[in-house]
């Protein structure tokens, strides 16, 4: 399409890649955390809860800075990722995805936890008596009943990751084609006087992306409802 300049295309696709990867990696982690917070009772619970909220409370730039300190090539954690998994984050799109994922985490955990806590445990019991083990019960009963929370988590997380700026620029820098996502491109445009039109176009792209995610999620929710999940969706 010619409505977008090549650079805009590049930025758009990169943003999609970064947010997509962030969601794919963070979803299971966030779900596991939500599960632990909803179902387990252990002494460190509130500390874990606080830790999950951290990226929400701290200014994004500080989160980015902490990531930088933790994952620097010469830091222990950074060395572990580099040596054991061959993953480096600094100045890489994977770093942008990590930053976006970390910033989205608290929102996703809360939404899923809310839905998990509302699941009627008696229905899980019924599934067990019908021969479903823990895992099958989880997959066939708990997860579908918590689906509204999972969908909400995905929408919130995706939107948040599309808009993520501070942690990304601090941790992954602002490298064209590698870590310059939509918000960073907007930041660049904002530095140039008289570039309102470009800012508007890029912001419009962000809005469009998340509108798509929103429509998709509402459609999925509606499909769920149509299948009889009246009171859950």
């Amino acid at each position: 399409m010619s409505v977008l300049t090549p650079e805009e295309w590049e930025v758009l696709l990169l943003s999609l890649k970064v947010s997509g990867a962030a969601m794919a990696c963070v979803l299971p982690v966030a779900f596991a955390l939500a599960w632990a917070l909803a179902r387990w009772r252990f002494p460190g619970l509130i500390l874990l809860d606080a830790l999950v909220h951290l990226p929400l409370v701290l200014p994004p730039v500080v989160t980015g800075w902490l990531l930088l300190i933790a994952l620097a090539p010469n830091a222990p954690l950074g060395r572990f990722f580099a040596d054991a998994l061959g993953m480096t984050f600094l100045f890489r799109w994977t770093g942008a995805a990590l930053a976006a994922g970390v910033m989205a985490l608290p929102l996703m955990v809360r939404a899923m936890r809310l839905s998990l806590e509302a699941v009627d445990r008696k229905l899980e019991q019924a599934a067990r008596t019908l021969g479903a083990g823990r895992v099958r019960t989880f997959v066939s009963v708990t997860l579908p009943l918590a689906m509204p929370g999972v969908l909400a988590a995905l929408v919130l997380g995706f939107a948040r990751s599309i808009g993520e700026f501070g942690a990304t620029i601090t941790f992954a820098s602002n490298i064209p084609g590698e870590t310059r996502t939509l918000p960073l491109a907007i930041y660049n445009a904002l530095q140039i006087p008289g570039s309102e039109w470009q800012v508007t176009r890029l912001a419009g792209l962000s809005v469009l992306l998340s509108l798509l995610a929103l429509v998709l999620s509402e459609w999925l929710a509606r499909r769920g409802r149509a299948q009889g999940m009246h009171h859950v969706l």
Binding site: K122, L123, A126, Q227, G228, M229
Partner: protein, 218 residues
């Protein structure tokens, strides 16, 4: 022996004690006032509530034994449990509810086929419906069907016919009698309806008032 129960349970400051044995096969009715602990007993046999101590065996298989540290998970106990509060899966339609246990049962364990179940329970026209849109009696019949189709080794039925009309009740009672006599599956049956109990039960276990011991049945 069908049911061999000797357990105690401490809950909410009350203590429940159950001790009874029944001969092989047949239908055992639990009779007792509201709040006596009938549903609690079924929950323990199904593996949903853990007794404080004691032993539960059904048809020769030990399901729970606090001394021997045996506690079979519910999914391995193969009980067909019709819950007092039904517990249909709200996110699945009637067909999926009915087949939930059936799909998971080994073929050689299934002893009732789907068409017969639909026929007897009169729920063939409800297959595509959401549980939430069912009438009270319709939901109850689906819950019965779901339990029967899971190929259970024994049945736990908690007032399964409370909201079922007289005519349908007759047909369902006949099925239960067949399960009892032909298949010889042990059945534990809770009902407040004297005539139902008189007709079905080979024996009646009285569940005493709050917290008292149920003496072993003869």
């Amino acid at each position: 022996m069908s049911f061999d129960v000797d357990v105690t349970l401490q809950r909410g400051g009350r203590s429940f004690e159950y001790r009874f044995r029944t001969e092989k096969g047949g239908l055992t009715a639990l009779f007792g006032t509201s709040g006596a602990g009938k549903s609690t007993l079924l929950d323990m046999i199904a593996g949903l509530v853990r007794p404080t101590s004691g032993r539960i065996a059904v048809a020769g298989e030990t399901l729970f034994d606090s001394a021997a540290r045996i506690d079979l998970p519910p999914e391995h106990r193969r009980c067909g449990y019709v819950f007092q509060d039904l517990r249909l899966f709200p996110h699945r339609n009637v067909r999926e509810n009915l087949l939930y246990g059936w799909k998971r049962a080994r073929p050689e364990h299934r002893w009732l086929d789907v068409p017969t179940t639909l026929e007897v329970l009169g729920i063939g026209h409800l297959l595509a419906r959401a549980p939430r849109s069912l009438s009270g009696g319709e939901a109850q019949r689906v819950a019965i069907g779901r339990a029967l189709l899971s190929g259970p080794r024994f049945l736990l039925m908690d007032e399964p016919l409370a909201s079922v009309d007289a005519q349908r009740r007759e047909e369902i009672l006949r099925v239960i009698e067949r399960v009892r006599d032909e298949l010889r599956r042990p059945i534990l049956y809770v009902s407040h309806d004297r005539s139902e109990v008189d007709r079905l039960a080979d024996r009646v276990i009285p569940i005493g008032a709050a917290g008292t011991t149920s003496p072993p049945a003869p």
